[in-house]
């Protein structure tokens, strides 16, 4: 080994010697030095350098296990009106309908050992530091297919939740995903099976299952209930056809502990659909939060144009939210809970054009109360149904331009639509008047992302 390094170094030393002949700043070789002594000197220097190289290499080998990456998404947005509610970057204020924002500023550190992994990802925004991923993973060394992850990680539900925010083709995930799985992350423990190349058909399978607090990444666990979340995924590549068909089934079985005895659900009072308080409920009782999901993705490489993917996802189930809203309920909220049946779905197409351009279109619908039609809302003055029970949908159109391997520009337009509430008797819907029609709440986003 040392001879390998010796060869170029001897040449280097000799050439340095020649170069130094006319250089008075270099110390001259002692008079009377024989060639053998000179070679011995050079060999000593080479051995020293070799030793130094091996030391440096051992440090570099350790550092090679540490990977640092990140990205910044800066954007400008324009909304149809002041104070517009938005799931694309958050609500506008009463004084703004256009804004500059730093949407995400992530820094991710990963240390990858032979059978273990450490991950920490933070989001450093002007509004504060948010922890995204913090988890430890161990994997078994025999099949190299099973792993155990503990900490804050993506909920293993559906396709969109686990899709990287630096890769999503439109600026944000769907409304349903943001409301039901806010922030994508949760604190828990998860087992994963990822088939390897030598497992026959099982190489196409990916199974994830875990127990989570159900409180997202920012809160510590506050009750004994766990949310059990899992997905069975399959990925079928047809290389000869340049086609891949992927898909999965997901399940979410959770429970929410209510601080109070206040519980309401959709019911009828004198033939009017409304929120009805349930009698006889006590504090610290639990309520089911169960979701099912199915997703599919098809990828195909269209000759001359580029790759296309068609994706769809449908979630449905019973959900526990805060009173009068669709937000996640957490213990301590004294307003009680609402029990609602929800659904969320989208269809999406992404077309690459060459290697620089990409077009995306997505239509998504979130229905926060599937038992309620738009016409049930404001039908009677006594009804407690509101805009948080109306379905909303978005048609998003996006264009991505990949400037180079690090920079992406995105131009996006969201056509936001709403389920129309009852307008038969305007006196019944004074606060809901604009919801009796599809009101203006569209939005433009221009984004620049730099990722390393």
């Amino acid at each position: 080994m040392k001879y390998l390094f010796a060869t170029p170094l001897v040449l280097l030393a000799l050439s340095a010697g020649f170069a130094a002949e006319g250089d008075s700043t270099q110390p001259a070789a002692p008079a009377g030095t024989t060639l053998e002594e000179a070679i011995t000197n050079v060999k000593g220097q080479v051995d020293g350098l070799n030793e130094s190289y091996l030391e440096t290499k051992s440090i570099v080998d350790k550092l090679a296990k540490l990977k640092v990456g990140g990205y910044v998404q800066a954007q400008w947005q324009y909304a149809d009106s002041l104070n517009q509610a938005s799931v694309n970057g958050g609500n506008f204020t009463t004084a703004s309908q256009e804004r500059i924002a730093l949407r995400r500023a992530r820094l991710k550190t990963t240390w990858q050992g032979t059978t273990s992994r450490y991950v920490m990802e933070i989001d450093a925004l002007p509004t504060g530091l948010v922890i995204k991923d913090v988890n430890a993973q161990i994997s078994e060394p025999w099949l190299k297919a099973f792993s155990l992850t503990a900490g804050v990680m993506d909920r293993p539900f559906g396709f969109e939740v686990g899709y990287s925010s630096s890769m999503i083709e439109l600026p944000e995930r769907t409304r349903g995903s943001q409301i039901l799985m806010p922030g994508e992350k949760d604190l828990g423990v998860m087992v994963e099976f990822a088939g390897t190349d030598k497992m026959g058909f099982a190489e196409h399978l990916n199974v994830k299952f875990g127990g989570f607090t159900g409180l997202g990444s920012a809160l510590a666990e506050n009750d004994n209930e766990k949310d059990y979340i899992g997905r069975v995924g399959i990925s079928l590549p047809f290389y000869d056809l340049n086609l891949a068909i992927d898909g999965g089934f997901s399940g979410y079985l959770g429970k929410v502990t209510n601080s109070t005895g206040k519980v309401s659900e959709i019911g009828k009072v004198a033939d009017t659909l409304t929120w009805v308080s349930l009698a006889g409920k006590k504090a610290l009782e639990t309520y089911d939060r169960n979701l099912m999901g199915v997703d599919a993705q098809v990828y195909y490489d269209i000759p001359v144009i580029g790759g296309i993917s068609l994706r769809g996802e449908y979630w449905w189930g019973e959900w526990v939210s805060v009173a009068g809203n669709t937000g996640l309920y957490t213990l301590g909220d004294t307003n009680g809970v609402t029990l609602r049946n929800v659904s969320s779905w989208y269809l999406m197409a992404v077309q690459n054009i060459g290697s620089k351009n990409q077009l995306a279109v997505r239509y998504d619908v979130f229905d926060p109360s599937t038992d309620v039609e738009g016409t049930d809302i404001a039908k009677a003055k006594s009804s407690k149904l509101g805009v948080n029970d109306a379905a909303q949908s978005t048609l998003g159109l996006g264009w991505n331009y990949f400037w180079d391997e690090a920079v992406r520009f995105t131009l996006n337009y969201d056509f936001n639509m709403n389920e129309k509430v009852n307008s038969a008797n305007p006196a019944n819907n004074a606060g809901l008047k604009k919801w009796s029609d599809d009101f203006d709440n569209n939005q433009v986003t221009v984004r620049m992302q730099v990722k390393f």
Partner: protein, 275 residues
């Protein structure tokens, strides 16, 4: 009128510049394939002066990363892309990528010319590289420590050897990882106790160990016949990967590498044609 003439001249010059601009194809990846890729590029450019083919090495893993990042048109790889890498390609390009087997290689086990060892079984090679056997006397050599040379982990040769010869086990920690097959050859050629592995096209100043499938099988050296008929037990394809179906200059170049002329370069370099 002057403006019209100026605009016309400008457009003409722009059209001329576009028409005469050289089409550039970038190729990055496997160090095992870098000599082959350079010879392909030289021969192709000699007959296609309108095309510039730029070849760099760095290892299969580096090439695959460049393909996913969109910084190379063609990735050379001495191993298959992993499913995780395909997933990344799917996310960025909505495509599985296109795999083009472009040559075959017998992955050789290098021994110093002075080594008395002539043949090894696959199990013996595995035991040597996993550290279970560390003295030459255990495999028919002198009573001396075996010096292991190998590649770095971004190398496709490293991954192929680990997955297929070591059956997924890790290399012995004492193996000296070198940045290229040429460096491995150089090291083994100067070290009587050394052993290395790499493409069979690199054969200067050393000898190949004959390899047996198991202790009772005949031993074979990698050559055109044994690689083609599969009797040499460590053979692999060398691949070109593209992010999507090639068109234009890239398609013409890939087609040419698979033509009889392109495949003759494979033989000249010391690998084996795919057809």
């Amino acid at each position: 009128m002057n403006k019209t003439i100026s605009a016309g001249l400008g457009l003409t010059l722009a059209a001329f510049a576009l028409a005469t601009a050289k089409e550039t194809i970038t190729v990055k990846g496997s160090d095992t394939m870098v000599i082959l890729a350079q010879r392909w590029a030289e021969k192709y450019m000699a007959t296609h002066p309108d095309v510039s083919v730029q070849v760099t090495g760095g290892g299969s893993g580096t090439g695959i990363s460049a393909l996913i990042n969109g910084t190379t048109d063609i990735c050379d790889a001495s191993r298959k892309m992993k499913s995780a890498e395909r997933e990344k390609l799917k996310q960025r390009f909505n495509s599985l990528g296109v795999e083009v087997p472009s040559a075959r290689d017998g992955l050789a086990v290098y021994l110093n010319d002075a080594s008395p060892v002539a043949e090894l079984s696959l199990d013996q090679v595995k035991d040597i590289y996993t550290g279970k056997v560390s003295n030459w006397k255990d495999v028919g050599g002198p009573d001396a420590k075996i010096v292991l040379y190998g590649r770095e982990n971004n190398s496709g040769t490293y991954v192929y050897f680990r997955d297929n010869v070591l059956k997924g086990e890790d290399f012995a920690p004492g193996m000296q990882s070198l940045p290229g097959t040429a460096a491995v050859v150089n090291a083994v050629s100067k070290d009587k106790l050394g052993i290395g592995f790499g493409g069979s096209a690199y054969a200067k100043g050393l000898k190949f160990a004959k390899i047996k499938k198991d202790a009772s099988s005949p031993a074979y050296e990698p050559n055109g016949e044994t690689v083609k008929n599969g009797t040499y037990p460590i053979t692999r394809y060398l691949y070109m990967y593209l992010k999507s179906r090639p068109t234009g200059a890239i398609k013409n170049y890939v087609d040419w590498t698979l033509s009889p002329e392109g495949q003759s370069v494979v033989t000249e370099v010391g690998y084996f044609p795919v057809k």
